[in-house]
Symmetry: D2
Subunit: 340 residues, 4 copies
């Protein structure tokens, strides 16, 4: 069978690395090119990540070297603002785009421009973009020219909350999401907070009421709740390389009981391979999902509130794994291909 | 000047170790004896903790060896249930007791017995016990025969919340405390969750709605609020040795503004050396308080809610440092003695 | 194509877990049974390792439940002493055995009994056992009834040293191996040294002149050197979950130059997928080989000595990956199957 | 009693931070000024290290602001090359200097210039400089105008080796020092190798045969051996914040027995508070010396060689603690002042 020809832009970052590792295991894809970010220099994958020596020694070149190639799909593991102009070029050439940035996530460009402080430069394609939360947009993804891979924190919030809001189990207006992420979420850029001596054996909250994943969470929850949702979202930085755990505080609607959470989740996810509903009261743990595309979730009910915990790997289900799952849907592969 | 003669029971645990390190720096105390927990064997401090070689080579013996000594004070770094019978013996001999366990914290023995599943065996002395939150019970501590050092999570919640409830700044009935603690909080006992390979590079919540620090938080907040307070409290296990950070979600009372939080804290803590009110919007971090007796706190206001973060070292301000601060108050030393 | 029917004994340990993860990716194998160690209780794989929920929900039963099954191969991820009696049973039933323990590694049972302090109970099969260092025993492995997967430290020493001794590049009698291993090397057993608070942010040597991997290193080096080799070997415990790095100090033989090291390695390993000879002077790093079956190596020459560094993942090339590579050779699969 | 007036240049680095913490505990010193490195901006200590809020809120200014102050002593926690010109200024003003850099360590400026690639700009004062290894240069330190605090790796090698070479117990020409250091040894500078995701859960050697501490080790060992010593020294980067452990491979001289090591150490160190000779065969561990000024050491004898391990905190006995111990000797304080 002819393999799908794919390329990665932004192969030099942590999500590019994770994606490539999984594409090398995928039976139906050929990686035909790698590109770096705008201001970087040409090199090879093992120069950037010595772990690819022998495994994949492709050069990592400027993105323009990919435009002339015969590609079926391109993964853009680029920062917001940098992604849209490049996506536009590929889309004009008929290459299907799987985008990791925020550029095609927010439907309302005013919201985008307010939170990201840049003008949106591809409003045309944005209209055709599909939000790549596979479990909820599968049908639209199949034929989408461009999918927007959801944010990592966002995914950890949406997966447990969408069914509950969709089914009217919880109040839409009293949701607190206390999220904790590993340091790879901050990327490879050298900032004081990623110095080992500043982050190991420490912990902090950041971006209180100002993290850019907030409007993305609100957009999707509002859509599925059929009512306006504005969450309180607080990200934290864990002294680990990868993984996100979100502790979510919700209130049941009048007349609802805790077991409705279980039913709602079961209904939504019983046939979803990567969704794992744990028994009520269980502690989901980051170590159970690291390096995998799974999202684990559990709830515990108590006086007046229910505590939900969800866990996923920010680099896999929160980025590269989700991207590959989207790709599998777009090109007709089993969703688990390359992801076990 | 004659030194105060003190002993430690439970010197073999992490809090005993921390306390001894600080007592060795204290100008006014002589450590005259160390005892281990009930089922341990006689040894010396460097046998248990080689870091004490040269520094303190005292034997660590059964607690009964301390009863006959001429002591002014004893620190009991023992588990709940084990502490009260021993405290009783020392109190009968006129030795002042600084107790780390829950045995003298909860005023209502029914609540104690419900949460700790053991009968309380010293109701007599419990009546005279003082809750050792130095910043709020200083006057009572001065002459107390026995003080109960507050729980570590509890302290991280009470310090920022007491002034706000006392001054009527926040609603007493909508408080969520999302706390994260280092692994030393689980003690030296060997359980699967403290294995390096199960805890490093991981993270989890535990004890949802069932952690024993909950009634202690409620008791003290209720007292200072003058109204019934029942918090939602979720502890988590951080892959670090020590430190607690609590993220606390509160709502302002009608007519109150975020700056009232600042004023309330300033009023309560401006002369308190170990209380550090950071600027609004600041990220308090565990690395700023590790190994110290400080508690850092900050708030950020947003739509509908205020997020408070507090950080302290669970082994210092959350245990041994607080114990020593109590001791300093009881025996007339400057509160910072041994704690800088 | 009919799949090879395989089982794992010792699925409850860290190496069992790693092996199963890789067998699930293998196109030509069916895992038909899992057994636990002797004193454990029946359960399921997700009970032991929640990360297997959905992925593999097989029960983990007593080893005797496997004897009656129709198996082609069995992996024994068991401790020394426990392995041989079980291997013997499987071999008697014509099942080929891949053994992780030391029981079939040392050819001389006197040496085995001296270092491991137990009598060897299967001297018969030991005669037919092949030492499973794939790159050097490939032909013998193909038809071996039982292979002994080499020790993790041992592999990190043998891979760089065998070619150099075989080709007479270095002195056989002045070799120092200073090895550092992650904590998973100590297994899941709860001992004080694996407590997070005793191992994180720390480091120590152990087993000086007494580690059981020493005679195994000597046996194999002696064989390939054609002269008696007795190394000085010091293991250390790194505060990481997995990975081994060995720093090896050797002396060139008279008339040999440092570039002979490069030539010797190139000759031995240029067609070996999992052997990666890095440029002289390079720092091999554990992060480059974690989760993979690669072994990286490099050398730096200086006055009087050459420093060699090698790195591999103790749970993969040092155990389960090597086991699977052996399996692939035994059953005619590409050596990389399940290992990318 | 009048306090000694001291200042720190380079308060913005990790060693400056550690020194200041200890000076605040010292009964006989007043910290009258703090200066930053050459290209930094004026700020306050809590701006750099929020942990100093309340504790020490001094401004951190340009070094020239210190020249006009009435100082008894200045600590220079500056990089090599930057230190000597500043030391010269202070020495001209009669201020005694405790220098952390390499500028006054190597007696031979040719060696200095070869290894450090800069011209030495203060050969005059270098002649009067004393090597600040307190246990071996105590008498010279008392009246030294300038002391050079030894390198961190160097100290971990010299402390166990000087007595053995001085007493002729071991061969001077076959010494291998395999050292492992925490990441704070690399300083606060942001480089890829200090990124949490590149260093956590990893390990590597670096600077093989080229680390600048090599000539310093050779200089001092040669002096005490009375014979030319050239060690093989390999540093490694541990995924921990602080601490050094060195594994040292030596050979006994003919006629010497392992117990001569014990006698030699006992003779040298029995009255030295910070030197802790552990029982032969003991594993010294970094956690036993972290945050302290102790150096632990032990040996294990085996066929043909002896393995010595030593451990110290690179920021304390390897830098700031040693600096303060020197200061105590220079100004007549007990050596332990501020260091318990």
């Amino acid at each position: 069978m002819k393999k799908i020809r794919a390329a990665i832009c932004g192969a030099s970052g942590y999500t590019g690395r994770e994606l490539l590792l999984r594409l090398l295991r995928h039976q139906g894809v050929e990686v035909v090119g790698l590109a770096h970010g705008p201001s970087s220099e040409d090199c090879s994958m093992p120069d950037l990540f010595p772990e690819f020596k022998t495994l994949c020694e492709l050069p990592v070149l400027g993105v323009e070297t990919l435009y002339s190639q015969d590609l079926d799909a391109v993964f853009l593991a680029l920062p917001h603002g940098a992604s849209a102009p490049i996506a536009k070029e590929f889309l004009a050439r008929g290459v299907r785009v799987i985008d990791f940035s925020a550029d095609y996530r927010l439907r309302d460009t005013e919201v985008y421009e307010k939170w990201y402080k840049v003008a949106h430069c591809d409003k045309e394609n944005l209209k055709k973009a599909v939000y790549g939360l596979c479990e909820w947009y599968r049908d639209e993804i199949k034929n989408a020219p461009v999918v927007a891979v959801p944010g990592c924190y966002v995914t950890s919030a949406l997966i447990p909350l969408i069914p509950l809001l969709h089914d009217g189990v919880i109040e839409p207006n009293d949701i607190i999401i206390d999220s904790k992420s590993g340091i790879s979420g901050a990327g490879k850029k050298l900032t004081p907070q990623v110095h080992y001596c500043e982050s190991a054996e420490s912990f902090k909250a950041y971006g209180m009421f100002s993290h850019r994943h907030t409007p993305e969470i609100d957009q999707e929850l509002t859509k599925f709740a059929g009512a306006n949702v504005n969450v309180t979202f607080t990200p934290h930085l864990l002294p680990i390389i990868r993984g996100i755990l979100s502790t979510i505080y919700v209130k049941l609607k009048d007349g609802r009981s805790p077991s409705d959470i279980q039913s709602s989740w079961d209904k939504a996810y019983k046939d979803e391979f990567f969704m794992r509903v744990r028994k009520s009261g269980t502690s989901v743990e980051i170590r159970h999902i690291v390096n995998s595309n799974f999202c684990d979730m559990s709830y515990t009910a108590g006086p007046g509130r229910v505590i939900i915990t969800s866990a996923l790997d920010n680099l896999v289900k929160g980025a590269s794994g989700a991207a590959l799952q989207n790709f599998n849907i777009m090109f007709g592969f089993p969703e688990t291909e390359g992801l076990i």
